[in-house]
Assembly symmetry: C2
Homo-oligomer: 357 residues x 2
Amino acid sequence: MKTTFAPGPSQLYFTVKDHLKTAFYEGIPSLSHRSKEFEKIFASCTNGLRELLSIPEGFHIFFTGSATEIWERSIQNLVENYSYHFVNGAFSKRYFEIAQQLGKTPTITESPAGQAFNEYQIPDETELIALTHNETSTGVSLPMSFIHSFREKFPKALIIVDAVSSLPYPAFDFTKIDSLFFSVQKGFGLPAGLGVWIVNDKCLAKADLLLAKGQSIGTYHNLPTLYTNAKKNQTPETPNVLSIFLLAKVVEDLLVRGIHTIRKETEYKAAVLYNTLAHTGYAKPFVSDRAIQSQSVIVTDCKQHVEAITKALDKNGLVPGDGYGEFKKTHLRFANFPTHSKEHFELLADTLMGLKI
Amino acid sequence: MKTTFAPGPSQLYFTVKDHLKTAFYEGIPSLSHRSKEFEKIFASCTNGLRELLSIPEGFHIFFTGSATEIWERSIQNLVENYSYHFVNGAFSKRYFEIAQQLGKTPTITESPAGQAFNEYQIPDETELIALTHNETSTGVSLPMSFIHSFREKFPKALIIVDAVSSLPYPAFDFTKIDSLFFSVQKGFGLPAGLGVWIVNDKCLAKADLLLAKGQSIGTYHNLPTLYTNAKKNQTPETPNVLSIFLLAKVVEDLLVRGIHTIRKETEYKAAVLYNTLAHTGYAKPFVSDRAIQSQSVIVTDCKQHVEAITKALDKNGLVPGDGYGEFKKTHLRFANFPTHSKEHFELLADTLMGLKI
């Protein structure tokens, strides 16, 4: 069995197969989403996430079909006119474009691929500041101090963080952000088909305000409807019940390991790979500024050696992720998620070190 | 192992468990949705559906998170102002309400629960006529002749059919409709989390027209974006890959059985149950007009006997679906999907006939 390091859909979390057996044994796929049994699964999933990520009171957890959907829903529900987007790659850019498509007037500050944001001017009227914690396409992570710096400077704006390819690793300070989201096929190691959207009461109030003003905020997945249902541990539509069940189970497993352990292990594994890249001549981190090097998606610039490296890794059962977009032929990406073990990373490092190119 | 007759999420199609094993063995859950392997699965699924349902050229097949999502997307993409809704229960009503929520001016014609539509007046300016083939809450099916009668009378309007709880049973004439949709957790017997939306070129043209007029038609799941991706056998976002794979496999299985066989078997099973209900004193079909009795969701009015009947069925491993909404305590619903065998229905009939109440 090979181990894939693609940053998503990711290698499954190693317990998923067993949980799926349990799900079938317990008849989860045929469960009504209006049943008490489903409500228990919903509660177990959201309570587990709350504990794992230290999500405080006043924040609510909703399910969507994907994180892409949350891009759209968040603009619809949290923005009348002005959103502000930090863009440093394909995914943060797509979020900006969705705001444009929805007829808003988004402002963008762009930094070159792989580099930090140095200067920005956020207009006073900004309603939503959109930050992509981990730009999956290039391997840049925004420093937590950067993310947490906006609340004080822009107290009127809502702050939303796309943490699609970094959670559960980062420890956000929920007093400094208003919304956070991810999808399950990355760090949580589940099959794709579920987005998780965390919002606070200020977000709910903003959606209510926009609705009162006559703005269309969508229907079954607008914030008021998601909230009304979530209070009953339900969803507006028939959701991906199986995925919510699997997420609840994987979160339980992660809680047993302990989030602090998972975070430290993530940092250790990233260190092993970054250290290796510092010693090989033929591959280096695409992101050279250590302050913004991602811990969860490590992007390597391999230039003309992509094929040779891929072959060598494959011999040891390791499958790197392709580069993204314009970097498809020169980069390799290595996801560092909870399902990837220390041993996987050590083998990865050994293989890279032993390579004669 | 019990057999559930809940109309959805339904009893799984009996081959799903094996296909899931194959999926894990083949690494489907970790497959990139931009890979050739995914494109093959997408093509196999849509080509299979095309064959099974005789979907002609000029129609396109897209995937969403749910049929609820298609209610919203279809109004966004196919209606500038005026939709017309035939409402005879909770689900057809929700579709109407979504049009209201999206700021349109929908017109409604309502018939009492369990009864046919006798009179209606569709205004000339109607852009979309929305028909719910099978109202899951009450067990009314619109006759095919009724559904197919609108094209000629209203050649300017688009005609969309919600066939969530009836497909793959009904044989639609695609020259008489423009769009059709369903979700996989009913007749196809899959875990919930995927909607399937079939539209023709006229629908695509309408969405383009609305977009050109400056109307918001949504973003990643608007029709032009879904179409651009589907042409490449792709989806705009990371979809529920596993569900698309399972649907492809179940459709293959249904093709082996043959759609004509499945349809005739469905009618036989429905006849067995309706015939039984004609002979029992304590339970009768909620829908008395045979012309509109659903073949796929048979709703029985059991009055005060719901508990006694449920208990008797349970002893034989048969689990009926609850009544819907106001009928929760007096109705039982029996899904008649391809996963339910003749033997299931014969046992159901025998148990009901043998009941002493």
